[in-house]
Amino acid sequence: MSDNKNSAPEFYVGYLPLPRSHKRFLSALVSVLVIAMLSSGALIAAAQRNPGKTDQVSTQRATWSGTVYTDPYPMMIHDDGSIHLLIGIGKFGVKDRIAPFNGKHCQADGWALARTNRSAIQLDITPDAIRETSGPIRPAPTQTTQSNEQVELIGEIVDGKCFLGAMKPGDGKAHKACATLCIQGGLPPMFAVSNQSSTTQLPLVLVNGSPTLPQSVLELVGEPIKLTATRSTLGPIEILNVNPASIQRWSGQNP
Amino acid sequence: MMGSCVLYCGIDIMTPASIFLILLGMYFAVGTVIGLVFVIIGIRKIDPVAAGAPLRVRFIFLPGTISIWPIVLYLWRTKLKAGSSS
């Protein structure tokens, strides 16, 4: 080492023993980094937003029975009048799969997903996961519009699988691509309303009477938007008949 | 990454992003071919130290060749020329 090593600071060489001053400094630095990693891990984790309450029981496979309909959204009407949406594995709907059972009483195997007043059954992939059985046929629910009053809502179009608990959170910017794929794949579009004052909760979306979104609306899935729509019901399910021309990106504060 | 070209089925909209992804997949595919030739044969003629390294060690240079193969090709040629002229 240096001749005047007493006056000059110690010099580090990677393949030589660590000088004492560096050893002290590094011990302190590593301690600081450990504390930094622990605190940043905890603080950032705590700063995440709440993904919302869902009743996800997806680990329990179960069997349901009821009458199956394909339109406007694939669904099963149980004997007590309650409705489960029917959804598929991955980012796919099940309209084609259940088409042979339209209007028939069936049993379905799968996993339930639910959020607020909306619930769905994710059909198992096995071929006989949906099968015709004997039982009372419930009539197809009719869409009834109470008034033609236009409501203005702020929120985000989400897909009827992830937002019900398949992914948590199943909304927001990071999920935008996924929600778009899900809706393209035939999963029912929903509107996650963020107006605090609104009584509407998680209605399903129809544009021009169809659950298939036109590209102009698909582009805005997963983003904060403002829209006007007329409200109707399909049995216990709320439906928004959205006027596509009314949709615009929303960057303001939620009312 | 290199499989993006193959995986890229079901194009329904031809946007700049999709064109970029296809080009990227092709870039990595070409890089893989050039990289294999480079680490197995090419490297021996231009780097005496690397020439002494066993093949399994030289394979660690493969990802680098895949990522910057145009630069590798250029320097490879330059070094070969310099080697033959000296």
Binding site: M1, S2, F11, Y12, V13, G14, L16, L18, S21, H22, F25, V30, L33, M37, S40, G41, L43, I44, A45, A46, A47, Q48, R49, P51, T54, K91, F92, M167, K168, G172, K173, A174, A177, T180, L181, Q184, E219, L220, E223, R249, S251 | S4, L7, I11, D12, I13, A17, S18, L21, D47, V49, G52, V57, R58, I60, F61, P63, G64, S67, L75
Partner: protein
């Protein structure tokens, strides 16, 4: 340049370094996931896969900030040199954290749909002109591609093959990657994660990186020396006693590469300040075991010929020096790399014509 290549050029320090960094990374990931599951549990639990995507993404950003701060911090205090020593391994680790983040996001958000995962994730219906619709995923892909170029060319072979100058330029792309990462986060996660602590942390990180670069730049700044007409081309670089024994001094010459001056035994020698390995600042080094030693990775050169001791083969340019009286004069014209130059020594009796009083 090196004697032989191995997969990873580990030594004892590098192994300890890597183990500590790996442990720090695991501490972060574990703390993040554990806290998340404690804060949001049962019917409010965040999906495990999303926690993993977030944990590795944030880890990569934290490591990137550490990497960007190491350089300027080492310029501010040499005590940081051991952290600089193995920065490349940290870079590769950061790339893998980012790759895991990207891979999981591609799988979870992009796969199992009507389109390929790449198409689904990068080619959705985006709007480049809007903040909420801006395709943040493609920004992340750009950053990842740059990090891939850097991680894949981090082996010493690439330094030798590309030459240190080109290698260094390539690795300066890390700043571009950092810019893409910032865009990726600002137009992505921060659009829906609105807790002020998150945006504050990102801004604080960027400000720290920027400030450290400014401070270290100011610290490193030295006025350039120029030849006085009477002495041209020789430049007065100071008194003999300005140069401490066995320590380097950096001299800045107008419009030229910096020169490292070393006083060893009775003589003074001048070498290029640029290490042939990774362009480290030789003038901030020392004489160790009789050789000029680079402060970055310990590459060594003989002071009197700019050649690495055998079996190493690195060579750097040398410069002519002469001593007149107590003044040291430098010829700023570099010799070809490895040219032997006799160290300048004080003449037995000080010369009468003192030069270059400035």
């Amino acid at each position: 340049m090196t004697v032989s290549y191995t997969w990873v050029q580990w030594n004892k320090h590098k192994k300890i370094y890597d183990l500590i960094m790996l442990a720090l990374s695991l501490i972060f990931v574990a703390t993040f996931i554990l806290t998340s599951t404690l804060v949001y549990k049962d019917d409010e639990a965040i999906s495990a896969m999303i926690l993993a995507i977030r944990a590795f993404g944030i880890l990569a950003i934290i490591l990137l900030h550490i990497i960007l701060c190491i350089g300027p911090l080492t310029r501010i205090t040499p005590l940081m040199s051991p952290i600089l020593y193995n920065r490349r391994h940290l870079g590769v680790m950061m790339f893998f954290a980012a790759l895991i983040h990207a891979g999981l996001a591609l799988l979870f958000y992009g796969a199992f749909g009507v389109r390929s995962p790449f198409a689904g994730l990068f080619d959705g219906y985006h709007a480049y002109t809007s903040i909420s619709g801006f395709p943040f995923e493609i920004m992340g892909l750009f950053a990842l591609l740059i990090l891939f170029v850097m991680a894949s060319t981090s082996h010493d072979f690439w330094l030798a093959f590309l030459t240190p100058c080109l290698w260094k330029s390539l690795h300066m792309l890390v700043y571009l990657a950092y810019a893409f990462v910032l865009l990726h986060v600002v137009f992505g996660a921060l659009q829906s994660e609105r807790h002020p602590a998150l945006a504050t942390a990102l801004i604080a990180g960027a400000v720290t990186v920027f400030a450290l670069h400014i401070v270290s730049g100011l610290k490193e700044f030295k006025p350039s020396l120029q030849a006085q007409e009477a002495d041209a081309p020789w430049i007065d670089i100071g008194l003999v006693n300005d140069f401490p024994m066995d320590q380097g001094r950096v001299v800045c010459i107008a419009n030229q590469e910096r020169v490292a001056i070393f006083r060893h035994n009775d003589g003074i020698s001048a070498l290029s300040n640029v290490c042939a390995h990774q362009a480290g600042p030789l003038g901030e080094g020392r004489i160790v075991n009789g050789c000029v030693t680079c402060p970055w990775h310990g590459y060594q050169y003989h002071a009197d010929n700019g050649q690495s001791p055998p079996p190493y083969t690195e060579r750097i340019p040398t410069y002519e020096l002469r001593i007149e009286g107590e003044r040291v004069l430098l010829n700023p014209q570099p010799n070809p790399p490895g040219t032997p130059v006799t160290p300048a020594v004080r003449s037995s009796e000080p010369s009468s014509d003192e030069v270059g009083e400035t």
